[in-house]
Symmetry: C2
Subunit: 336 residues, 2 copies
């Protein structure tokens, strides 16, 4: 039986180590081939583990790390001044081949900076991108970048398109339709980076570039891969989460008004709740950092134990697919 070993940055995230340890123990009980090493302050982690019963300690180890990166810390500071942070030590375990993936719910900017520094990117890739699946009228769409890269050059957008296409293929879409997110579909629309990226994609062979898609086109399912810079992607994702929540609560308010509508609500609300969870894939399932020499999953800071558990499951899928190797092989053929 093959074994999966994952390093867990146990100190990051809004909820702290308690819910991370809880998520880890839940995953271990579900997946017998899984081994986890919690990276962080040993005494604290031992205490949290000891509050759970029947933990298979042969599959749950602790790797000491004395420092913690806070959620508001500057990435440059985390990189320069904290050689023994839980995040960094977890990434070093991955770099040294001691684990097959790393999961963190810590500071996104710091995770990005440290991942690049410790693991390095794949040949031909300048910066990793965060990707997650967004539901559409016809299925799902991979959107990247979701916030790891605030400003992007045309070349970076081009690389994101290549990575997104390969990732979508790994997820079972034979010929992913790749589009650039823009404020219009005419050639003259958009900023300079987007226009230049369009020219690069038009000239590229080996991927199915379909042109520009607008904000509403994303949800109409016009593309399988939607490419944008991290600022725009983050606003798209979070505003969608906010809107879905607002629609849910407006519907709930109406459905609570009368007896009849309470019956109606019994039908409509579960659907709305499922949709809401569906619309927050990065929050619930973790987002993947594509383009690194290793598997790094970012669990949403406010996701709690359930979200962290989903992020570990996502790491397991990427280990099974051997995604970085697959990306590397395809990129060699695609990049100029």
């Amino acid at each position: 039986m093959s074994v999966q070993v994952i390093a867990i940055d146990a100190m990051g995230g809004d909820f702290g180590p308690r819910s991370i340890v809880q998520a880890c123990i839940a995953c271990l009980s579900v997946t017998p081939s899984l081994h986890l090493t919690l990276v962080g302050q040993p005494s604290l982690l031992e205490e949290l583990i000891s509050s759970h019963s029947a933990v298979d300690r042969s599959r749950l180890t602790i790797t000491p790390a004395s420092e913690v990166i806070s959620m508001s810390e500057r990435p440059s500071h985390a990189l320069r001044s904290k050689p023994d942070s839980s995040m960094r030590v977890a990434l070093e375990l991955l770099r040294d081949g001691k684990v097959q993936a790393c999961v963190s719910s810590g500071n996104t900017g710091a995770l990005m900076a440290l991942s690049r520094h410790v693991l390095k990117t794949l040949p031909g890739i300048d910066r990793p991108a965060m990707v997650a699946a967004v539901p559409t009228q016809t299925g799902y769409c991979q959107v990247l970048d979701l916030g790891a890269n605030v400003d992007c050059t045309a070349e970076q957008l081009f690389q994101f398109a290549l990575m997104g296409s390969v990732a979508a293929q790994a997820l079972g879409i034979a010929r992913p339709r790749v589009a650039l997110l823009n404020i219009g579909t005419e050639d003259v629309k958009g900023n300079q980076q987007v226009k230049e990226a369009a020219a690069l994609l038009q000239a590229a062979s080996g991927l199915h570039y379909i042109g520009y898609v607008e904000g509403d086109g994303v949800y109409r399912g016009e593309a399988d891969v939607v490419v944008c810079d991290g600022f725009v992607g983050n606003i798209l994702l979070k505003s969608s989460e906010g809107l879905a929540t607002m629609i849910s609560s407006r519907l709930e308010a109406v459905f609570k008004r009368t007896l009849f509508s309470r019956c109606v609500g019994a039908l409509a609300l579960p659907l709305m709740r499922r949709l809401q969870a569906d619309l927050a894939p990065a929050r619930h399932n973790g987002a993947s950092f594509l383009g690194l020499q290793g598997i790094v999953i970012k669990s949403h800071g406010s996701a709690g134990a359930q979200g962290f558990q989903s992020a570990i499951e996502r790491a397991l899928i990427e280990i099974h697919e051997d995604l970085p190797k697959r990306l590397h092989g395809r990129l060699e053929g695609l990049l100029p």
Copy 2:
């Protein structure tokens, strides 16, 4: 009785002159103090008018213009090469004081470029911004810019914040909470323009700046005015429209499955449809160009006659509020 005179760019938009003429005649019948001049090709417009009965031609005139700006035309081309376009002639009527507002459903970029060129901006304002109201958990929020300015400097974002605050006050909010749209609420988050705009807003007196708001915070109603560049604002608005449509159609599909759920649907669907219309204010009501020496309303290209009628009504409100003068007065006190 005071009279309102509005110039209509009768040749622009996806639906063309027919639905524009229809909208104009509907508005004239509702508002007896309204006078409209249709700007465009006289023979075509006369023919369209003659297909309607009982039109009060004393309040509906035609101003000839021989050229039309297409939806995909480069703004620079429209500016340089078409001195007699319907859009330009309509704006010149406004500049010359012959009308009090101008409404167009034509090419947004061209309308922006021509408005700036013909009307000029208010003192202290570099570029006009497009603003529309977005519904939130607690009411409405003015979002700007919605696509007129693809790239923005910190100074422009600062000016948008001032204009949005004044516009929100004109709409009845005594002390509008002004926020910058960003990918996090911590100080270190965001791109350079947003960080610099935050510093400018923190130092400004006379407006209630509350800091950063994230995509989900917009819909939670955390601010009355949300400021962003036109690329981000356009993606926010259009993706919200797309998501609302997707949620509606998913709910419809569920509600159509059984007899009971069809009854349920009778309750839920009107609510969803209202929300959908509510989420497309720029599409349905027109967006206002703030910061010009004159009132210019952009009706959404695909809005049809109903949308164009709403845009004329919006122009009437701004004429009543004398919004440019009000903005000018407040800006004098607020700008450095």
